[in-house]
């Protein structure tokens, strides 16, 4: 796909690369995940506006 077409596509066209499947089930950035868990542990999700 050309870059021009790619840029116009709001919903991206997803290309599958089987080589990425070797990561499946692995946590590639464990420190980031631990940090996110810590930051989110005591927080509440925002309330989505009801009117939208």
């Amino acid at each position: 796909m050309k870059v021009d077409e790619l840029n116009k596509a709001k919903v991206p066209i997803v290309k599958i690369d089987k080589r990425l499947e070797r990561f499946r089930g692995k946590v590639l950035f464990p420190e980031k995940l631990a940090l996110a868990n810590k930051m989110l542990a005591n927080t509440r999700l925002p309330k989505i506006p009801a009117s939208k």
């Binding site: 991206p12 997803v14 950035f29 996110a36 930051m39 989110l40 927080t43 989505i48």
Partner: protein, 153 residues
Amino acid sequence: MKYTRYEYQTEDELHYFGFTSIGPKGSIKKIVEYTKVSVDDIYNLAFGDYDEQADRLNDKIVTNNGDSTKILATVVSTVYAFTGRYPNTWVFATGSTEVRTRLYRMGISNNLEELKEDFYVYGMKMDESFEEFIVGEDYLGFLVTRKNKNINL
């Protein structure tokens, strides 16, 4: 989208995305990962450089390949893809350093108008509560979710 972005690849479940940054430092493989956190329905977005030869990832390295805007637009694009498949999820992102968090903020700010058409966008304040994202505000992290849940990729 307003900014150019790299073409990227993913695997069947759309949890891992790969693309290649191209600039003065050469071609650098990037990996974007979505991992479920311990809070229901939230996935953590992380990305960094992938050294294929060493088979190692690094989310702290500053590559300076002159294409940070394009990289961030690409990462934002993966959010469209991931939430297209998993529309009821929330995506959280924070940087591994303050500099990287500011970079994320820049990426959201640059793409905010378009993002807000499709997502609710929030920033995590210093007290770890969320508010609707405001350009120029400092945040600890960022959280988005789809407005329209009736989408499937």
